[in-house]
Assembly symmetry: C4
């Protein structure tokens, strides 16, 4: 008689390591609080309380750029939540990787805000405001470098958290598959960041051939490889 | 022999989904931290530490406007708490809706503060201070639009959270009634905001007929329909 | 045979309502986060990062005033923790009183900082710095009023939390005694604040008789009555 | 027959006091939120949102100094977590010591940031930026004093937390050894800070003999004594 088909469920809550407590550890509480603060400071620009109703309306034009950076940071928070819900420990390696993730998020809050707001300003032809401008081609290279570095470094932390799970050994075939899939996603994400950085540094930024300048940004479409490759890695690990 | 009369209790804690854990999930911890932070930044104006005792006394005049915006934001927090206490999950749709609520609250912290402080300044004939002024009729339209948009969007998140409960199916008649009632409250609130926005955009703002300018604000008395309509919807769902 | 003498234990953890869960409720998480932010903003003056080593040394002179205001606010936090550890619910009255406490704390963070830093400057003869000065006798009256109002209002919230416990009925004689004692402490504290305010308003502030100006501040020695009166009220309630 | 060899496990999670609940107490929640907030304000300089892409690149040069101060503060947070995971109570002495630790951390956030950023500027020969400069020898003495005082005071809190455990009596030989070891680490750390302060105050700071000025900083190599001394103290307590 077959066991109940729990191993075929696909929901987010389907897998939970047996020893995984349901309550929040202090590491999780710390990570949550730091992410919540980072997002708050992202959205609420402490310095610029609007002084007139017209300013207020203008300030709301920042909302699309905020929404984009909010989404990116919330995505990293969700990656951490997903990992900790399934395999989370507060051992030393996981603590160090989580603290590193928090540190990187805090460092990248304002750069992200600036990158996305200048991006939105460029895309909307200046209708959406930005206090910073991507004025020169050198500026553009810096933007690609900073974003690529932050992106790769944060994914490195997430991937590292799953690597600690693999090192201590998976509890089941299903768990091995899930971990392998998550590591594959991380590898694709880190690779994407590195390729974007390499393109930004190596491509000749020539004012005449404007289309070249978009290539390092276009590199992020490589993220579409994450899901198919992740499913293949998961299947192999389950079989293997 | 009748079952024990649990379905007639009316207290706040009467209903709790069976699988609902008592501990906080990380999503809840995140939402609480972000709300607490938003309210802190609402009340504590980081930039304006009073520099003399007279300034201090003047700063305390901001308290009524703070109290109003504090109450509005705390009300949304309480709506989230009430939902999560009864039906809360941290599945993907609930996570996305909660993150959207947090985002909207963060975006609306300063606008709310400005709206209420200029409102209190207008109501008190300028005795209560406001750094921003609703100077022109155009300003007033912007105030109505911003408040109406924020109000409706935040209620949309709350209502969406209850809709996810309805979609997965209610555990009991009582639960079905409670969810239907909460959705009715949300519908009334969203409708009120939309009507206020429509009035602000469509009404001729004419300097001579000053009473017209109050109509978009008066629209919020429609919120009084929320409780009777909610009770009717709850009764229908319990019977149905 | 007598029951085990649990009713004679006097430690802080001795009493806990039977239905009192050990985990934090979301209300508690919210209150903790808000208090933590308030204290952080109290100590870290966001605006004034020192720019030279000499500034840094000067900034550390603010520490005594910070320590005093930190202690006052931490005391209110501890009162809330003590109440919630024993009787805490997150019903509507307790939620509203806790939110009111958080609101008052946020409102009073900067006033407290200013009051204590000008107090320390006055006491140290100006060696300890203060950006605000209690320059005139009118300033002094304002200081007494603001501090007295905040003190009484915050104690009103704490006392209200214990009154909700009394209203729903105590579970045991010991609990009735504990609640009565806490309410007595609250009554003394509120009375002290009111007397200080009354003195500040009614006493003739005359430049010649300088000692008069200290009386509203001296009123706070009445707090010494709190513990004997609280013990008497507790004993009566246990007997009654 | 020997008992199961639990006393030989060496992992971080090996020891946990029997009565130690797995959930976070409110004290822990408070400490976590305050630390998270302190670290956020450490990294995110609220006042200095970069205004151009070149500013952004320059701002990233602050990252090494941030990382150092982040690491120091995170280390103190981890010490508190380690203590509270094993022996944590929220009795009055532990609460007061934890609040004192939070207070000290908040007071030392900006000084740490300044010390490390001027240290990095000095070490990198000015390539890494610093808004503050250690210009004179007197400045250097102040830096040593401030760092030494903060270091010793924070370790005093941590050590005090372990002393409260020793006072109430250890549950087992293994626990006695762990506590004795932690107290030994604390004693070495406090002693190191005191020696550094003494050197800074007593050594003749003479512009000609520049090497002397490094001695108070070099004193922190004494921290290397912490682990051997701690292991010796632990072994003695286990035997004793």
């Amino acid at each position: 008689m077959p066991p109940p088909p729990t191993s075929t469920t696909t929901g987010l809550h389907a897998i939970a390591a047996p020893g995984r407590a349901a309550h929040s550890t202090r590491l999780e509480a710390f990570v949550d609080a730091a992410f919540a603060f980072a997002l708050t400071l992202l959205v609420i620009s402490v310095d610029t309380i609007p002084e007139s109703i017209a300013d207020l309306a203008r300030a709301l034009k920042d909302v699309p750029a905020f929404a984009l950076s909010f989404a990116v940071i919330a995505m990293f928070w969700y990656q951490h939540v997903r990992w900790s819900r399934r395999y989370g420990t507060d051992g030393l390696p996981a603590t160090l990787l989580s603290l590193a993730l928090v540190f990187l998020v805090l460092v990248y809050v304002y750069p992200l805000k600036i990158l996305f707001s200048s991006f939105m300003a460029a895309v909307s032809g200046g209708w959406l405001p930005s206090s910073t401008r991507i004025g020169t081609l050198d500026d553009l290279v810096v933007v690609y470098l900073v974003y690529g570095l932050g992106w790769s470094a944060m994914w490195l932390c997430i991937t590292g958290l799953y690597l600690t799970v693999r090192r201590r050994g998976a509890a089941s075939r299903e768990e091995a598959g899930d971990v392998a899939g998550a590591i594959a996603v991380g590898a694709v994400a880190i690779g994407t960041g590195v390729i974007s950085i390499a393109l930004a540094l190596l491509l000749p930024l020539h004012p005449t051939y404007a289309w070249i300048h978009g290539l390092p940004g276009l590199a992020y479409v490589l993220m579409n490889l994450a899901w198919p490759l992740s499913r293949r890695a998961a299947r192999r690990a389950e079989d293997g």
